[in-house]
Amino acid sequence: MPRPADQLPDPPASLDSERAAELTVHTKAALRRQRRELATSVDKAFKHIPWPLRGAVRRVLGA
């Protein structure tokens, strides 16, 4: 299934194409930053889980 982010919102119609593209770059960067943080932080979080619970947490996460 495509991520919702595959459909970036259209920039405001009143912006010229150059500025619209600039705004879209900022939006893509915000999205990339969030994806990067999520991907790295969930892995990092595992080391804080007590050993006996790690298997159960992994099963719920589907990891």
């Binding site: 982010a5 920039p11 705004l23 943080e37 999520l38 990092k44 996460l61």
Partner: protein, 234 residues
């Protein structure tokens, strides 16, 4: 409120959402109608909150297996404020409040700055008032006025009054400018009181916030404006 002022306020909100250094990063959108900027901001908010929703939901589900203090440690030291903010609305509200009790105030302020309170209304309204007050002060110290403007509509009157008392005149003026739901601004400034409102307006120019003061005056109701005129005349 002039169209340009309204657009400037919207640009500040959009810049905050996109994690840009400051509102000046988006000066080129000041000519765009505020309604277009608001629609774009809403669409980006949806985009960010809906992205990787399945993984976030599984993470929230997994959180049920762990004690609150462990989750707080993971949140602070591994997940970070942005991901914690995205998870907040997916947790059971009581559980989220319990976890928040283990976070230091500075971390909660950072988390709140990333949170869309509309997606975690039950959590926001369940937070103890004194905790909200501490978070508000920390957010103001960090210059997170745009984010604070999102929360005002979700605070009860007592908590809001407490925050108003603790925040500076400059904080109040900055928050008022970017407040979500400005139609309630007159109610908020009933709590601020006439004397302090006058002081805020009088001091605005020296704080470099003249446009914000004009905007505030425009949003006060007719009775409040009349009282201020009478005060200034008397």
């Amino acid at each position: 409120m002039s169209a340009a002022t309204e657009s400037r306020a919207e640009a500040a909100k959009l810049a905050r959402l996109l994690g840009l250094d400051g509102p000046e990063s988006l000066t080129y959108v000041h000519q765009v109608p505020a309604s277009e900027l608001r629609d774009y901001r809403e669409a980006v908010t949806e985009l960010l909150y809906d992205d990787d929703q399945a993984l976030l939901q599984r993470t929230a589900d997994a959180a049920r297996l762990l004690p609150a203090h462990t989750l707080a440690t993971m949140g602070e030291h591994a997940l970070g404020p942005l991901i914690c903010a995205r998870l907040t609305g997916l947790l059971d509200p009581d559980r989220a409040v319990e976890i928040s009790g283990h976070f230091p105030i500075d971390f909660l302020a950072q988390l709140s700055a990333e949170l869309d309170p509309r997606r975690a209304v039950d959590v926001v309204t369940s937070m103890p008032g004194d905790r909200v007050l501490e978070i508000a002060v920390a957010m103001a110290a960090a210059g997170e006025h745009v984010a604070m403007g999102r929360f005002v509509a979700h605070l009860d009157e007592g908590t809001l009054a407490g925050c108003i008392e603790e925040l500076t005149d400059e904080d109040l003026l900055r928050i008022a400018f970017v407040l979500e739901g400005k139609e309630r601004l007159d109610e908020v400034f009933e709590l601020v009181g006439l004397e302090r409102t006058q002081r805020i307006l009088d001091g605005a120019e020296s704080m470099g916030l003249g446009e914000e003061a004009l905007d505030l005056r425009d949003h006060l109701n007719a009775r409040q404006r009349k009282q201020l005129r009478r005060r200034a005349g008397g």
